[in-house]
């Protein structure tokens, strides 16, 4: 057993209100520079929808992630044999038009326009060329346009949805959508790292954060094509790729990443998971139907004495083990089993999990009266009639397996029913208890899920492990000497003269 720790995340989609505060917090800190205007390390998509970059989930176009070929795991877009041909022209690279061309407005025209009878206008200009542009797309161009035949209909996840369900999904009475906030998943088997010809990308051993060394990146662009989630971005100005760094400078000082900290709906959780690094490749090679359980098996119980012993032996710090024991992520993913990884069929083993949305579960219109179906008899109303088809959610989170998705939704619904019976009382407690039993949960667990979902404190949502960055310098020199010489950090010393 080779125990490692990973800073992992859960996003609770039922709580996301699509306000984009996370995106803005991130942008203001990391991507407001030239060449990064089009990048959104954190973005929020409307689902069903095509996302950003457009149709990033369509791997027949982008060839992101891994595939099993024989007994081997190989990248879909590149590899040792294909690096030469890819390096001059990467056939799977998305271009700026797949994202959008960033723009601003010529605001000075508002002030400089000569007096006249018309209101002056500020025309849009490209942030790349500085020329006037006709804006054709933006990072959230299909925001809240779920029912639209132009955008939502092109969502790759709709391929498993029957034509009838598809019609219903777009019928105005049933129109429904949810938000899908995305950041880098800081995968256990990152395709971006494996694809980099220069070896500029790496995963940090202590916390699993995936980073790009800006001095080693040479703009070969392999990572952009290889990441199936399209979460590495090419800076067209500096000729370097950049990606979400999980705000590691904040984490190292005990603060939650900006997008987590600013989340209005408090949908985000962060904590450490311990996992067995020796099993990564075997798990990533499992047949698609076993991937969800496989990844769950990879995660180790931080309270198991054998795991603790192995973790100590692998050099996991005592404080990190202690942090893993309090991790909300472990509860969501491993104990309650209600958080699922996005598109695990890409085989990168993402470490960002999602609690799928219940939404208004059912809705129907009879005699021109719209009914929001939540009466007691309909608690376990067949999920086939949910407003977002199960097959759609299954395509996102369980490699198309509807049974696994039903399990999660049933549990979430049972918790809701139980709390409603307890607090509102319009549902008989007997019905609620029966619901809990059917959903493979107990009163105690339902109470825990409720508390962690509805009432968690800041410290319960973000259990940030001490990252012991102060120890990093020990590999090179005495920390006290270093502090006196340059302050903490690895930047150039404040040296006088040549």
């Amino acid at each position: 057993m080779n125990v490692r720790s990973q800073v992992s995340m859960v996003f609770h989609l039922d709580k996301c209100i699509g306000c984009h505060t996370c995106s803005i917090a991130c942008k203001n800190i990391w991507t407001d520079r030239k060449g990064t205007e089009y990048m959104w390390f954190n973005n929020v998509e409307t689902k069903p929808g095509t996302g950003y970059p457009t149709q990033w989930e369509d791997q027949s176009k982008y060839r992101g992630g891994w595939e099993v070929s024989g007994s081997r795991l190989r990248l879909k877009s590149t590899g040792k044999a294909r690096i030469i041909t890819n390096i001059f022209h990467n056939p799977h690279l998305p271009t700026m038009d797949d994202y959008y061309e960033p723009w601003t407005y010529k605001y000075e025209d508002l002030f400089n326009a000569p007096a006249g009878t018309d209101q002056p206008t500020a025309l849009p200009i490209s942030k790349v060329t500085g020329e006037y542009i006709d804006i054709k797309a933006g990072p959230n161009w299909d925001d809240d346009l779920s029912g639209s035949p132009i955008y939502a209909a092109n969502d790759p996840n709709l391929k498993n949805v029957t034509e009838e369900q598809r019609q219903q999904l777009q019928a105005i009475e049933r129109l429904v959508f949810f938000y899908f906030p995305r950041i880098c998943n800081h995968c256990l088997n990152p395709a971006c790292v494996a694809s980099c010809p220069s070896g500029a990308l790496y995963k940090r051993g202590e916390d699993g954060i995936v980073l790009i060394n800006q001095k080693r990146c040479r703009a070969w662009r392999s990572c952009v094509a290889a990441c199936p989630y399209k979460k590495t971005y090419y800076n067209w100005s500096t000729g370097k790729s950049e990606k979400c760094l999980l705000c590691y400078p904040r984490l190292e000082t005990g603060q939650a990443p900006a997008c987590f900290h600013s989340c209005v709906g408090r949908i985000r959780y962060l904590g450490v998971l311990l996992y067995d690094a020796d099993k990564i490749e075997d798990i990533a090679k499992l047949p698609p139907e076993k991937l969800v359980e496989g990844q769950r098996d990879l995660i180790l119980d931080p309270n198991d004495p054998a795991v603790i012993e192995a973790a100590r032996k692998s050099g996991v710090h005592e404080s990190v083990i202690e942090s893993a024991q309090r991790s909300p992520i472990y509860q969501f993913v491993k104990v309650w089993k209600i958080a699922l990884p996005p598109h695990i069929e890409y085989r990168t083993l993402p470490m960002l999990y999602y609690v799928p949305p219940l939404l208004p579960v059912l809705g129907s219109s009879a005699n021109n009266i719209y009914e929001n179906g939540t009466n007691a008899e309909a608690i376990f109303h067949p999920f086939d009639e949910t407003r977002v088809p199960i097959s759609y959610l299954a395509s996102l989170f369980t490699v198309g397996d509807e049974a696994k998705m039903r399990y999660v939704l049933r549990k979430l619904m049972a918790v809701r029913t139980f709390k409603r019976a307890e607090t509102v009382g319009d549902i008989p407690m007997a019905v609620a208890l029966e619901a809990l039993k059917l959903a493979d949960t107990t009163e105690a667990e339902a109470e825990e899920i409720y508390r962690m979902t509805a009432l968690p404190t800041f410290a319960q949502r973000f259990v940030i492990p001490p990252m012991h960055r102060e120890e990093a310098i020990e590999a090179f020199k005495d920390p006290q000497d270093h502090k006196r010489a340059a302050g903490f950090g690895f930047m150039d010393a404040p040296k006088r003269g040549l």
Partner: protein, 240 residues
């Protein structure tokens, strides 16, 4: 004969300046500036790919250019490193024709690629936005160099043989610090321009995006698939 001595005794010093002094100045500049840039300005070592901004025309420029120029440079290197073997190979006319013809084809491919890259850079507004002065200078120098190369190939036949017989000894004399340019100065101007063009390109090389040639990712072929770095442990490849 020592050509420097000849210069002192009244011969034209211009040839010595061009073919004896220049290469040493250029080499000194090349090595000091590339190393300085690597040490001090490592962030600027990049291919500055613009495929992200324009994808389709890039294929018809970058691909023929790279395959063409790499083949041509390999040809020059063979003539420099293995002159006797090359002359032996060329002793049969059919084999000489094969070499000459394939070199010319590669030269045309290179030219097509380069012209496409120049046109693309000129007509696409996004690409113009990421074009620096050095990009323009190096593109024009490369165009001139490919142009004189093709001119040489068409006018001074059997270059693969006379390169090995005339230019290789000259280059050897430079590298062994006993410079002798006497054979080269009598070559036609097309060839002399091609040689001087090469020096010029070497001189500006450290200041252009061409430095990406020096950091081609050779270790990708044998490194482990995943890269994990530790604060306290030594950097290592891990899992897989």
């Amino acid at each position: 004969m020592n050509s420097l001595l000849q210069a002192e005794t009244g011969g034209l010093p211009i040839n010595d300046v061009l073919f004896v002094v220049t290469p040493y100045v250029v080499l000194a500049l090349f090595f000091t500036m590339t190393i300085w840039r690597y040490v001090k300005e490592k962030f600027s070592y990049s291919s500055y790919s613009s495929q992200f901004l324009e994808n389709s025309y890039q294929f018809w420029g970058s691909v023929p250019w790279h395959y063409g120029i790499l083949s041509l440079l390999a040809g020059h290197l063979i003539a420099f490193a293995l002159p006797r073997e090359l002359l032996w190979w060329n002793s049969v006319p059919a084999r000489l024709y094969i070499i000459e013809l394939s070199a010319l084809i590669f030269a045309v491919v290179t030219l097509i690629g380069l012209v496409n890259l120049i046109i693309r850079r000129a007509i696409d507004s996004r690409i113009r936005a990421v074009t620096s002065k050095m990009d323009v200078i190096i593109l024009l120098l490369l165009l001139a160099q490919v142009g004189t190369g093709i001119w040489v190939a068409l006018t001074a036949r059997w270059g693969s043989s006379w390169f090995a017989a005339v230019v290789t000894p000259y280059l050897y004399s430079l590298f062994t610090f006993s410079p002798d340019a006497s054979a080269v100065v009598n070559l036609p101007w097309s060839i002399k321009l091609h040689i001087l063009g090469a020096y010029l390109i070497f001189a500006v090389f450290p200041f252009t995006r061409l430095v990406h040639v020096l950091v081609v990712p050779n270790h990708y072929l044998w490194r482990r698939t995943q890269v994990v770095m530790w604060n306290k442990r030594k950097a290592q490849g891990a899992e897989q």
